[in-house]
């Protein structure tokens, strides 16, 4: 019963935010901002070239195993870097806090 209530709370919260987002995304007043925000897709002007830069690739419906490593690397690399940087910042922050604490204790002892 309790789990059902909790699930419903999460569901309604998700639904509420989704409706709000959908309303913003489709509202007339937001369209100029959206047009400005979303990069224009290729197609027009320039032409030429086999691969055509810019626009996003269309994904095929079938899996392509050759992307297993390169595709995962694109996700894992920035994620690992974020984890690494945050852990280092946390450690140095804790170290400064510890040294400050020690200094304060020493000062108290001296006085």
């Amino acid at each position: 019963m309790r789990t059902l209530y909790q699930t419903l709370v999460i569901f309604f919260l998700t639904l509420l935010l989704s409706v709000a987002l959908y309303a913003i995304g489709t509202a007339e007043w937001s369209q100029p901002y959206i047009e400005e925000m979303v990069p224009a897709r290729g197609g027009g002007g320039g032409g030429g070239g086999g691969q055509g830069g810019g626009g996003h690739n269309h994904f095929s419906e079938a899996p392509s195993p050759e992307y297993a490593f390169s595709g995962s690397f694109k996700t894992l690399f920035p994620m690992t870097m974020t984890i690494f940087v945050v852990i280092i910042i946390q450690k140095s922050f804790k170290q400064t806090q510890d040294t400050q604490k020690m200094r304060r204790k020493l000062k108290e002892r001296d006085s």
Binding site: I10, E61, P63, T80, F84, V86
Partner: protein, 153 residues
Amino acid sequence: MLKNYGIDILLFLAFIIDMNVHFTGLVIHEWLGLGLAVIIVIHLLLHWKWMVAIIKRFFVKLPGRERFKSLIDILFFIDFILVSLSGILVSKVIILSLGITLPHSVFWRWLHIQSADWGIYLLGLHLALNWRWIVSTTKRYFLKPFQKLGGLA
């Protein structure tokens, strides 16, 4: 604890695989994405007590680190909704299988790609801020049993 840990590992693996659309193809990407949304709800349910406690203490008394952590979690939840909603709106497989056709929108497609990219950094932050728990649980459930086995041999 073990249930939490198992679901977290499942979530992490599903996220990495689902982010690789070239590898999975659209069909698996969409269904796995739907499954991921369900597992995220289970993940939230398993952390319900913590969530309620943090929300209660958020504006009253909460250490800076915990406040930052919960802010990241809220952002992550919003990002999850952004990815899911835009994913549904640009879906070609699931929505079509339900017999619904949605108009093509560059905006929702852009939002889906962007929010998925933000998700990588938010998940990185989420993992880094819970790193101590991850390390201690991994040690408890993976390393210690192996060490015990090694000791017996």
